[in-house]
Symmetry: C2
């Protein structure tokens, strides 16, 4: 069974790890071939090194190297390099980079510097993390450098800062006017991205940020069209529980683009291609023509909980498949 | 008193640390302004990062951050990044790079990537290591990228490998035919290099490798002429004790260029500008017209021993100054 997922960082990675766990443990599930299309909009160049936070979180989580407590970065990490960079007066100091993590960035930057496309680098990193053995193929949404910036206003002045500076340094507390995604309009989907959507049996949208993760992937020219045209049902998972994100700042991002902080409003962002929608058990939203809504507990408090959630999304997708009595 | 020294890595750094110790502790010594012209011929690009082993050994040694046991690299060092790079399949694995050391290389590479000349980078690194407060100015011999390669013969085939590969990976055991210094003929001395030689009160040649350290610096167009024309006495310290180097592979390097492994033969390499020559207490070499030879113990077994050696070289230089009753 070919599953294609669009994913951001921590939430997407945990959901997909749950999906793989579900596929391995649920007796009735066919073997899964999972293609993950990862957001690269929050990529950033720091210390001359290219850093891809969402892709790395996906790699580390699915490969078993993630720092579970943080949700990002490597387990058993040291920070000797970052301390020395600070001693050297190198900026910035607000982006947490461990020594093992730095190796990923040095390796990637070296390969990119030699002219290898990002998708080629991701293939190399995927091999190191054994994704292939798990039936997982990770693709960056695009090989074109794309960077999300945030227009913030401070003391009546507007200025654009990198998404990471807004998210990590300012914890999304600096009032945001809008998001500007440099390079997105001229980006092309990475090799395999459109085919993975067109040829999937089910397309899943994990509970990633609908604005700065899923929303950015949808903005790569061709991706949204492929989703609209796909034969496969598209099933999403709401990132909101009780009107607030379980993690991160999706509520702030939604407010910034003028969208209500409800599962209903988020589904509206996907209205042109969404077939199934998993919302929290207490969510007031109900099914409508063309959109099957299913209520489930949406807290990924453990791998088992994430597996149950992903299993519910997958089951909904299978139920909505053409020829499966789809409404 | 303005002292200018040409220096390679470990031996040069220890000698110069001894010189500073001597200047601080010997009551009769005037305050010293030391300019160090460091070899960059053994620089290498690994993992996309520019590494300057001799300059870093000078910085770490004079700045108090050196790994004393090794003579190179940082004290209290970890190797998490190198381990992860090996897990990623990145090459090479034979060049020892610790996490703190990597920070230096990332910092330098970032600044070079922005167009800063190496001498500007060295100035930044010198500030981190407090060289200024010690009256020390470190200059790379040139801002032009220069790389020493070694033509080796294996199974009847000749090929050129980077000096570091020959020195570190093969421990200078691979038969060397000759050294080729890529970029040296079109290199220009870094800003301040020629003036530091011309305006010095004494020029010192520490017991660095006469072929692949001092010899490379002398090969930068203009440097040798400046030494020949300098009013300051030039005093060198033999790197050989009993016909063998105290450390490193100077004997192999001398054989490779067809020069005897004697203090006398090494002095011959500097014959056109050398005024004073410190040799080991048991060395058979004697003074001659135009070259004052002084015998002293040449083992830098401690900072005190290095200070005594450097003090003897400095005293010889002061004695040979014009107007000091020079022969």
């Amino acid at each position: 069974m070919r599953i294609t997922a669009l994913a951001g960082g921590v939430g997407g990675a945990r959901f997909l790890r749950g999906l793989l766990h579900h596929a391995r443990t649920a007796p009735s599930t066919e073997p899964v071939e999972l293609t993950v299309i990862g957001n690269t909009g929050d990529d950033i160049t720091l210390f001359g090194l290219r850093i891809c936070p969402d892709l790395d979180t996906l790699l580390y989580t699915l490969g078993g190297g993630i720092h579970e407590g943080q949700g990002w970065g490597r387990a058993d990490e040291s920070h000797h390099m970052a301390q020395e960079l600070a001693a050297l007066g190198a900026e910035p100091t607000w982006f947490g980079l461990g020594d093992k993590d730095f190796a990923t960035h040095v390796f990637r930057s070296q390969l990119l510097g030699r002219g290898m496309p990002l998708s080629g680098v991701v293939e190399r990193l995927s091999a190191r993390w054994g994704l292939d053995e798990q039936g997982v193929r990770l693709l960056p949404m695009t090989d074109t450098p794309v960077e999300t910036h945030v227009v913030v206003s401070e003391d009546g002045e507007q200025r654009a800062i990198h998404f990471q500076e807004w998210w990590v340094r300012h914890r999304a507390e600096l009032p945001a006017e809008r998001f500007v995604v440099a390079g997105l309009d001229r980006a092309t989907p990475a090799p395999g991205v459109l085919d993975a959507i067109r040829e999937a049996d089910v397309v899943l949208l994990p509970p990633s940020n609908p604005v700065v993760s899923i929303g950015i992937i949808l903005g790569v020219p061709g991706v949204r069209d492929a989703l609209r045209g796909s034969r496969a049902p598209v099933v999403g998972v709401s990132p909101l529980v009780g009107g607030r994100p379980v993690r991160g700042h999706a509520d702030v991002c939604l407010r910034t683009i003028g969208v209500d902080e409800t599962s209903e409003a988020v589904a509206g962002l996907y209205a042109d291609f969404l077939d199934g929608w998993l919302v929290d058990e207490d969510d007031p939203m109900t099914s409508r023509r063309g959109l099957e809504v299913v209520h489930r507990p949406l807290l990924m408090s453990s791998t088992d909980a994430a597996a149950a959630m992903a299993g519910a999304a997958l089951d909904l997708g299978l139920r909505l498949r053409p020829g499966s009595g789809r409404a």
